[in-house]
Amino acid sequence: MFAYEFMCTAFVAAFLAALVCGPVGWFLVLRGQSFASHALSHVGFAGAAAALLWGEPAFLGFGLSAVLSGMGMGVASDRFVGRDVMIGLVLSLAMGTGALCLHFLTHSAGAATALLFGDILGIAPSSLYWLGALAIGCVMGLAVMSRPLLFASLQPEVAEAKGVNLRLLDVLFLALVGIASAMCSQITGVLLVFTLMVAPAAASLRLGFGPMQGMAAAFALALFEAWGGLCLSWLTDCPASFWIALLGSVVFAAANGIAHLRGR
């Protein structure tokens, strides 16, 4: 398996995605914003499709649109609360715009499938530099803001009273979610970002770890799912995204079982 360069590239890319998705996902689940990763991946899809249409890399379009949308959601966070119809319409519009761009995209027939369901085996080795830089930037950014972010997530009123800038944290965190979604979409595709970002984090929280251990466990579980998915894909010749999604569900169910046995 490791004799092939594309497999080695895929394993490194999966490691980098798990490194970001685990800790970012832990905060997403803690804050009850799991849906944000789903929303940003949809908006990112439209950006990626538009970038392909203009001859630019899909990852660039995905990343830019997801990060800008994330920051927009952070700025307007109060206005999004309880606006499920509006959010649903924006998601539908984003998917529709992506579909329109792909319709006019005649020179890359497999692009739609790759965007929607991921193409981890198709990642170019040169892309690892970008992914690596983004992963390091994301992890460092989250490390710097994680203490006030934890406070603001658990006790927003008290945090605000203590001088924490809630709006700034919202914007910065959702920008990180945008980057994480872009990285994750490379592995699982737009439709399955949830599996790598939310499932490991939710399982980690169910196991009752503290913040630091919880983020580390979310990373370890995300890595297990991503690498496990790659191995199973190699063995069965089925898509890696399917196996990652399946492993995500199995890991979460196992964590629930353990939590139940421990009486949590």
């Binding site: 994680s146 203490r147 006030p148 658990l154 009273a161 203590k162 001088g163 924490v164 929280l205």
Partner: protein, 268 residues
């Protein structure tokens, strides 16, 4: 002259387009235990948020220990009304610890001294047995204790406690009040304790700050909880009834026996 712990001068605050405090002035002596009374919407939470710098007054000012502190820099511990608990699956210890120097950038990794500080806060409110349990498994009263422990972090000199007795049964109300009172006396803290029901605080409070119709009245229980004083505050006939060592406030013509001190708000 002793500097008041909290001083409001002509303080005017609106919430949701309605004026909840209208040119209110008072001075809370340091080290006193003050019951902040008033019905729903009387402005108790708005007053606390204004003291904390989260609401900007339309007019007037509020000083903490004679100064205007920047947001987050005042020596005040705040316990908000208990709403949805996001912490859910985290342990009680981690929920409390999140507030310790929570505004400082960095990772939530706690030094031995910081862990000791969190442990001391939990012990101070007899919540050590809650430390390892997931927050979602705790009762309302147990969660209140964690919030109180959180308010004690960073060595505050003033505590603002917003409805700390909400969701507690009567026996727990008295026990919680006693715990807070003893803690405040031991540490020399000034406490503003908002509540709907004055009776669990009887024997513990030094002063009452009664809010109604945008106005405020501060004094000891015998000065504030009288028929003439509250009638003047409400601007309508109100009767204060003492029975069995308990206080009841009823609006003129109110037929129901109400067990709280703010029934004038409800029967109006």
């Amino acid at each position: 002259m002793i500097t008041p712990a909290i001083e409001a001068g002509q303080l005017t605050v609106s919430y949701g387009g309605r004026r909840v405090l209208d040119h209110v002035s008072f001075a809370i002596p340091p080290g006193s235990f003050v019951a902040v009374l008033g019905g729903n919407g009387a402005g108790k939470t708005s007053l606390f948020r204004t003291i904390l710098g989260l609401n900007t007054p339309e007019q007037g000012h509020v000083l903490v220990e004679g100064q205007r502190f920047g947001k987050g820099r005042m020596p005040v511990g705040y316990m908000p009304q208990m709403r949805r608990m996001v912490a859910g699956q985290l342990s009680g210890w981690h929920m409390v610890a999140a507030a310790l120097r929570g505004r400082v950038w960095g990772v939530p990794w706690y030094s031995a001294a910081e862990r000791a500080e969190v442990n001391a806060a939990l012990n101070a409110v007899d919540a050590w047995e809650l430390a390892a349990r997931p927050v979602m498994s705790l009762s309302g009263g147990e969660r209140q204790r964690l919030l109180l422990a959180q308010a004690l972090l960073d060595h505050p000199r003033i505590l603002l406690l917003d409805e700390p007795l909400a969701s507690l049964d009567p026996a727990r109300m008295r026990e919680t009040t006693r715990r807070i009172h003893d803690l405040a006396r031991e540490r020399g803290l000034t406490v503003l304790f908002s509540t709907h029901d004055i009776n669990p605080l009887m024997g513990f409070m030094d002063h009452v700050l009664y809010l109604a119709h945008g106005k405020a009245l501060l004094g000891n229980v015998d000065e504030v909880m009288t028929t003439p004083a509250l009638t003047a505050l409400y601007g309508a006939p109100v009767e204060v009834v003492r029975a069995d060592g308990r206080l009841f406030v009823v609006a003129d013509g109110g037929a129901d026996t109400l067990h709280c001190c703010d029934c004038a708000e409800h029967t109006r």
